[in-house]
Amino acid sequence: MPPTAVILSQAFSGFAFGTLLALMSSGLTIIFGTLGFVNFAHGAMFMLGAYAAYVVLTYTHSYVAGLIAGALVLLIVAVVLERGLLQFFYVRPPEDQLLVTFGLSVMLIEGIRYFFGSDSQRVSPPHWGDGIVNFAGIFYYPLYRVEVIGIAAAFLLALYLLLYHTSVGLMVRAGIEDRLMVGLLGIDVRRMFLLVFAVGAMAAGVAGVIFAPLSAVIPDMGTPFLIQAFVVVVIGGLGSFGGAIVGGILVGELLSVTTAFNPDYSQVSIYLAMTAVLVLRPRGLFGAVGRI
């Protein structure tokens, strides 16, 4: 049994990573819930956010400008992709939707590789993120990682308010439950779909900006994240915003706390959890029956 301080520090670390996973997964899940297809390009969008941050930080050295750029770039990319391509796939079979987003992912990744190469780009944490926080002498944690929890939570809160406390959000949630009925009520479903796709893509982009100072910034950086986000969405329940948050933190905790006991089982633990959820509660922890 590892010392309590180690378990506590790992639990905190899991929470910190979990909030970031939750932000990434929330975008994936609302796109799936509303548009009805799995966005395989979500990992590439996460990567685009990180590259936007790299470019802007290189020239402005402003982290806030990086965050805004990450969100804006993804807004533009999302509008172009949704209007120019994805809207034509809403009525196509699921395998076509899967292939088109997968193809988009490859194109975005290779496009970035063409311009920036395969080498990692340098993104440093903001100067106000330098330093280490002492948690009552029990454990120490980098300041930026603590701040990441706050930044991710702020964006998740903004998403929550948008989805649950605005009329637009009401339409989106209604669209998740019954797309046909929302259309029949005279609501412009096309515009709603565009909005949801843009918001989902922006969530991935912001997560990419936040993660850039913590990781190698390479064209493939989103791929392993996408896989973990899928696990989160399956555990939390497809299309469930709350499920993405709980699933994200759960996956973060599993990855981290398992490492305190035996790092060899860290990655396996999340897939075991996913399998258990699929067997015991196939719709996920917060997924509605019959949503898919």
Partner: protein, 454 residues
């Protein structure tokens, strides 16, 4: 570079390019028997892609590199080394002119080398698929490329099955020339055993004896093999392992592993990760204050680390590299290689480019000395112990396990004030000759299969 499938200027391997070259090679293969009968085709029986792959005026070489995934930056460099080698073998260079068998230039045994490149995606399965395609469809007479030892071991097994020579250019795992050694596979680059034996004395001298070490280990054959070798080599200096943290290739967040390391009471951290994983883990280690808490050793100083991490992280850090461009002061041919590479690709080559280049030169020299592409004869030439003058000094293979007798460099990162030029990032602590690093054969787990064995 006429006749090549992917030109040096191109960043992408196009399907059309491969098709064109495939058709070209096929047409050449159909026409040539009428034009020029080959003596060796009558002398030696059919084996693998021989003689089908060399009946025309060309010989086909394949490179399978990780152009995507966590090792993509190393794969890019490796590919450039491969392309330059093919170019030099076809058109001549100061390096090939220094090798007596290659002095005349004009390809290998008078046949122009053409090539294709496949992307392994840093995974074994796509690597094996690409290599199989090049062997079956293009009749590749030789293939190379790895970076990941898991890929090297898989491709080596394929080489043995297909009876085509594979140059395992960049792979550290001892299994490559140990448990999984193959008659058709040759590894010129130093193994993990050799790296550990080179670093042991140098680092014990600089960092001291009787230290507690933590290990961050990539969870596959390369990482676990390096862990075994490092713990054994440093045990001689009283170093003990206090924790081994196994992290999968492509880990997104190393925090939980680093927390265990920070709490382990270690004096030293061996961070064995490579490529993008090395950058991510070092960024996170620095943010955790690990660099202040313990000395960090990077057994593999991946190419372009400085660009991502800077001297703030790497200044003073000790590490290892199977080749470093600063070695040009020691090896005259390295100087020519660096100059030519820089002219073509506009950056200084790193060890993946160097070892892929060396691999191709050593293979071509063996073919020339054998006087044939017939694999068993080329294998005999590679196993003969003949010393080839290369960009890493005179190199040769040990016949019993196909391990190259090659040097290993121990380096130390320069601090910001010490860096004079953009790529002049490390000081050479020691370059240990290969002869001093070879694992005694009695300890090597290689049971070399015969040519006929599958």
């Amino acid at each position: 570079m006429d006749g090549t499938i992917a030109s040096g200027a191109s960043r992408f391997v196009t399907r059309r390019g491969i098709l064109n070259a495939g058709v070209g090679a096929g047409v050449a293969g159909l026409l040539t028997p009428l034009a020029a009968p080959h003596v060796w085709a009558k002398t030696y029986p059919t084996m693998g892609t021989y003689p089908a792959g060399v009946q025309g005026k060309t010989a086909f070489a394949a490179g399978i590199f990780p152009l995507t995934g966590p090792y993509a930056s190393l794969g890019d460099d490796e590919r450039n080394g491969f392309e330059l080698a093919v170019d030099n073998l076809n058109n001549g260079s100061k390096v090939t002119e220094a090798v007596p068998s290659l002095k005349k230039g004009g390809g290998v045994l008078g046949k122009k080398l053409i090539f294709a490149i496949g992307d392994s995606q840093t995974h074994s399965n796509p690597a094996v698929q690409a290599a199989t395609k090049f062997i079956d469809e293009n009749k590749a007479i030789v293939f190379t490329g790895s970076i990941s030892s898991a890929i090297a071991v898989s491709l080596e097994a394929l080489a043995q099955r297909k009876k085509v020579i594979y140059m395992a250019d960049v792979t550290g795992s001892d299994a490559t020339t140990g448990k999984h050694c193959q008659r058709f596979g040759f590894r010129p680059i130093p193994s993990n055993y050799m790296a550990a034996r080179a670093m042991g004395p140098a680092l014990a001298k600089h960092l001291g004896h009787n230290l507690k070490a933590a290990y961050l280990v990539p969870d596959y054959t390369f990482g676990t093999s390096l862990y075994t070798q490092l713990t054994a080599a440093f045990a001689e200096y009283g170093w003990t392992s206090v924790t081994e943290q196994l992290a999968p290739l492509g880990t997104t967040d190393f925090t939980s592993y680093l927390l265990n390391i920070a709490n382990s009471g270690a004096d030293v951290l061996f961070n064995e990760t490579v490529g993008a994983d090395e950058i991510t883990s070092m960024k996170q280690a620095e943010q955790f204050g690990i660099m202040k808490k313990m000395k960090v050793i990077l057994p593999v100083l991946s190419p372009f680390l400085y660009k991502s991490l800077g001297p703030e992280v790497l200044g003073g850090v000790y590490g290892g590299s199977p080749w470093w461009w600063g070695e040009q002061e020691k090896y005259p041919l390295a100087k020519s290689f660096v100059a030519e590479f820089q002219k073509k690709y506009h950056y200084i080559p790193r060890f993946p480019a160097a070892w892929c280049y060396i691999s191709m030169i050593m293979w071509a020299d063996a073919v020339e000395r054998a006087g044939t592409f017939y694999p068993p004869e080329v294998i005999k030439a590679l196993e003969s112990g003949y010393k080839v003058d290369t960009i890493a000094g005179k190199l040769w293979f040990r016949a019993a396990d196909h391990q190259g007798v090659s040097p290993f460099a121990v380096l130390q990162g320069l601090s910001k004030s010490e860096i004079k030029a953009p790529a002049e990032n490390y000081r050479i602590v020691d370059i240990v000759p290969g002869e001093e690093l070879m694992e005694p054969l009695k300890d090597v787990a290689c049971h070399m299969p015969s040519v006929a064995q599958v």
